[in-house]
Amino acid sequence: MNQFQYVRPTKQKAAIDAFGREADTQFIAGGTNLLDLMKRGVMNPTKLVDINRLPLDRIDRDKGTLLIGALALNSTVAEHPQVRQLHPLLGQALSAGASAQLRNMATVGGNMLQRTRCYYFYDTAMPCNKREPGSGCGALEGYNRMHAIFGFSDKCIAVHPSDMSVALVALDATVLVSGPKGDRRIPFGGLHRLPGDTPQRDTNLEPGELITAVSIPDNPFTKNVHYLKVRERASYAFALVSVAAALHIENNVIRDARLAMGGVAHKPWRLTEAEKSLIGKLATEATFRQAADVAMQGARAFKHNAYKLKMAPNSIIQALKQAAAVA
């Protein structure tokens, strides 16, 4: 790890000011991904702004939204009574991620900003356009077992590894951001980017912008929800495919639905068309199968991830079944 300047402001403005204009400054919160990447030389910031002493860890309900501070810990949020009561999908997704120790370190803001686990991104001796623009995509013609089936480009086929973000995009969350040019709100679906020609940019945050909170509007998805995570061992592994499914069912009829997938794209993958296809239908396996068909339109696989073309729709069906408690 290279040496870096370390500052630990206690005020939000000071943190943003401390970021300065230097491109190689990073905010550090939990550090669970950034330090991992720094140890391997994948990221080499020359200045770290430790934001852990900022008062950004509150969880409050106000005017029909639940506001979760960016520094609230994954474990805290997962077990928070209001999260469990109002947004159980989020709690499930958080609990499916990482380990108990990491959830005690990782923050909500940091979780969103974690970087891909693509093998080629992680190894500085291999090509990766995300790490080193112009060096090529190692995964495209390489070992792409974990990689995207949606929204990729010929520059990058990496996937976003967060579980929490899959739930947040499904729940229509909004990200609250503060930066040198002031505050702004980003709909969760607009936070992460598709790789396109600039895979080095994971998100639409501008330099120096700090996520301060995420807000989730009240919704009817308090009961029929399920976060399904398919992975290569029973726990403590990144998803091959994950599905956040939320249904609002009345008299066995689906009144509203939310559906998103993880492990399939460069961003948490909201399935809006599939959601529409569910609304007004009976909560049956046949309905779910047809939604999965809709969801998979446009999916394309590479040499080693063709299994996802089957695993993804199956997981959608399974998650919806479990959300609806359909045997």
């Binding site: 790890m1 190894d123 001796a125 061992r233 403590y236 091959l240 695993m311 997981s315 069906i317 045997a327």
Partner: protein, 757 residues
């Protein structure tokens, strides 16, 4: 096995580990944890090509970095004197030329150490290592097993010796399975798997004088390491001291000496300070061995009533371009079943990769995956229960060596396991048992491993406080060696365990073999028994007139002290169990011994019974699995592992070892694969996030059952070894259960969800 040496002995007791307290308090000290004055840190730089040569190394930036004391490469490295010869002078566990670190510009595998950076702190060493810039002239590498299968060759040792177990083997007719009325032929593949012990490979190298080296090293063989480094550096063996008091797991990767060890020793010599080197997790994939990628083909044929007609088993395992690594992949096929015709062919395939090394249940676990899967496949073709099929081909003597078994209680294992797993629940027709969204299946697999024993010595000293101190240059990588040695000595001396201290992991102790091949208890335990007998003999000699004519085995130490009620403050007395009136105080004995504490060295070595009997441990593993119908996920929901491993010296530690083997087998079967991107010849899955070893949630309830009958032909305790058979046969048991659950036969491990969906 009670009453082996004494009535109501402690052999067999589920005694707590003697080093348990150290391990639960953080007091156990592993290789990287020795504090030496002036100790400095280091980090390795690895090559980024798989084959070719270094054209230049720019070390300037690294040298200028704060705290850096040395940047050592092939350009400026002192040459290890033993490297000058064309052949490596140490006795490699493989045929060939172990990598000569910093010797020349040649690159043999990706991440080969090309530089070591020494600095005053770990952070500085690691950072500066990243500043070393290396230019290469790359040559076309070959790392793909599949693309090079035509280059597989017979190992040199088989060429030299046609009777080698690695040589082509034909019992009866070659490929006779083809003539059988019921037959099948199938190919099986396992990927390279990494030992990945939790402790990263680490060494502290310290030149105490120009010709005197001490290493605190993560090894399974302190004596072997001592010899290797003595030869490397052309110094007397006694000038090399190897300390490995605690070894944080190894599973075989401590059975060879690796480039990083020599790199640290070179660095220590060059900077004149003790140098610490701990590998990164990625480096654990590239320079300390692995279970090699292997392809196998099994042809098996039987009569309709399930009598085997023939088995043909071919195997090819990967090795490096500079060393020939071989293992006993086909052993089980030759001796396990009563087949009149058996054909085996073993080949190795040299690739531009680092050298593999034995990984738990080494080749046998690989071979058993193919053999025991093929038998399972055959059982469905024949419509005969898999256990019944094996019983119909049971052998009452070793069909390979034509010798009687020393002991074999395999039938008992089948029965115990079938009862415990609930074998009667197994559906005869695959894919028919369901539990909600999950398909349920049952499978079993058999394992066997030689009940090996090697010569070993132990020292025994009776201290004035009544403690018997035993020392032997063995190691304990986790099975509980120290604990069982205390139990063996306690019974051999008729003393409570508290009165015994057993020390290991130090090359200055009497010679013992490496901790490998499931031979430690048989080898070192025999030495302990011998040392205890010697001690009694010596005490008898020194006991004085009352003892004349008595037998050594009747000598007692502190006869007044009841077993399990040891009190070190009691005055020590030597007596005779045949005559309570004969006793002498230890202080008198000491006086007769010139004031010295009585000390002896005992040696145990196998005798000619090994020519008369065939000696093996046996295991049978049973798995219950559930496979998700939608996601393809496999969960092992229950396992039963049964073993005929002779006397079980400690049911607690032995049971734990069996459980551990089962968990390792779950990883082998379901999750573990080290994958190389052949374009770069470089591993892509090389940490715990990408190379999935089982976690707590993957481990089901695992029941262990031992036959626990002594095999006194193997050693005086009657033990046969557990470490390997704990995993051999587990992977096929799980694969067979997956077939039983789903009707899908997965012949390439690991059985990941994508293969079942």
């Amino acid at each position: 096995m009670k009453d082996l040496f004494f009535k109501d002995g402690v052999i067999g007791d589920p005694m707590n580990r003697v080093d348990g307290r150290l391990k639960v308090t953080g007091g156990a000290r592993y290789s990287a944890e020795y504090e030496l004055p002036g100790l400095v840190h280091s980090a390795l730089v690895g090559s980024t090509i798989a084959k070719g040569r270094i054209t230049s190394i720019d070390t300037k930036a690294a040298e200028r970095a704060p705290g850096v004391m040395a940047v050592i490469t092939h350009v400026n490295s002192i040459k290890v004197p033993g490297f000058a010869a064309s052949a490596h002078p140490s006795e490699p566990s493989t045929i060939g030329q172990p990598l000569r670190v910093f010797y020349d510009e040649k690159i043999y595998f990706n991440d080969q150490p090309v530089a070591i950076v020494v600095a005053d702190t770990l952070e500085r060493a690691r950072y500066a290592a990243g500043l070393v810039k290396v230019q290469y002239a790359a040559e076309q590498h070959q790392t793909s097993f599949d693309a090079n299968t035509s280059r597989a060759v017979l190992p040199t040792s088989a060429k030299r010796n046609p009777k080698s177990p690695l040589a082509d083997y034909d019992r009866g007719q070659t490929n006779a399975f083809q003539t059988a009325p019921v037959k099948l032929e199938a190919e099986y593949v396992i990927p390279s798997e990494m030992h990945n012990p939790m402790e990263l490979q680490a060494i502290v190298a310290h030149w105490e004088a120009a010709d005197k080296l001490t290493v605190y090293d993560k090894v399974q063989a302190v004596k072997g390491t001592q010899k290797a480094f003595a030869k490397d550096w052309k110094i007397p063996e006694e000038n090399v001291k190897v300390i490995a008091t605690f070894v944080g797991g190894a599973f075989g990767n401590g059975l060879h000496n690796w480039p990083h060890e020599t790199a640290a020793i070179i660095a220590a010599k060059m900077v004149g300070r003790p140098v610490k080197l701990m590998l990164t997790r990625e480096q654990m994939f590239t320079m300390v061995g692995y279970r090699p990628h292997a392809w196998q083909r099994v042809g098996i044929g039987a009569t309709p009533d399930g009598k085997l007609v023939g088995i043909t088993h071919e195997a090819t395992g990967q090795t490096s371009s500079y060393e020939e690594f071989t293992e006993s992949t086909l052993q089980q096929t030759r001796m396990m079943y009563q087949s009149p015709n058996v054909t085996t062919r073993y080949r190795i395939l040299p690739l531009d990769v680092s050298t593999p090394i034995w990984m738990r249940g080494p080749g046998e676990a690989t071979g058993a995956f193919a053999l025991e899967s093929a038998l399972d496949e055959l059982s469905y073709l024949l419509n005969i229960d898999p256990i019944e099929l094996r019983l119909r081909n049971y052998t009452d003597q070793d069909p390979e060596k034509n010798l009687p078994w020393s002991t074999k209680f395999l039938k008992e294992c089948y029965q115990m396991g079938a009862d415990r797993i609930g074998w009667n629940k197994r559906p005869a027709k695959p894919g028919t048992l369901r539990d909600g969204d999950w398909l349920v299946g049952y499978g079993m697999g058999v394992g066997t491993f030689g009940a090996n024993r090697r010569p070993a010595k132990a020292r025994a000293r009776l201290l004035a406080n009544g403690t018997v101190l035993l020392q032997s240059a063995t190691t304990d990588i986790g099975p509980g060696t120290g604990t069982v040695m205390v139990q063996i000595a306690a019974d051999a001396l008729g003393l409570p365990p508290k009165a015994i201290v057993f020390e290991l992991g130090n090359s200055t102790f009497p010679e013992a073999p490496s901790q490998g091949g499931s031979a430690t208890v048989a080898s070192v335990g025999s030495a302990v028994v011998a040392a205890c007998a010697e001690l009694k003999k010596k005490l008898l000699e020194l006991g004085g007139p009352g003892f004349s004519g008595a037998k050594p085995e009747d000598v007692t130490i502190n006869s007044r002290v009841q077993m399990r009620a040891y009190n070190s403050s009691l005055p020590l007395e030597i007596g005779l169990r045949t005559n309570a009136s004969v006793k002498v105080s230890y202080s008198d004995v000491l006086q007769r011994n010139g004031g010295q504490e009585v000390e002896v060295v005992g040696e145990g070595r196998p005798g000619n019974e090994r020519q008369k009997y065939s000696m093996y441990s046996f295991s049978v593993h049973f798995a219950e699995v559930k496979v998700h119908t939608m996601t393809g996920e496999v969960r092992v929901t229950k396992m039963v592992s049964c073993a005929d491993a002779g006397t079980i010296v400690n049911h607690k530690t032995a049971g734990n070892q069996m459980i551990g083997g089962a968990v390792g087998g779950i990883g082998m079967a379901l999750t573990e694969a080290a994958v190389i991107d052949h374009r770069f010849g470089r591993y892509v899955t090389k940490d715990f996030a990408e190379y999935h070893v089982p976690v707590q949630a993957d481990a089901p309830a695992i029941e262990v059952a031992f036959v626990d009958k002594p095999d006194l032909l193997v050693d005086p305790m009657g033990t046969k070894g557990i470490g390997e058979i704990a995993i051999i046969g587990v992977a096929p048991a799980i694969a067979n259960a997956v077939f039983n659950a789903t009707g899908k036969r997965i012949r390439e491990l690991p059985i990941t969800p994508d293969k079942l969906i």
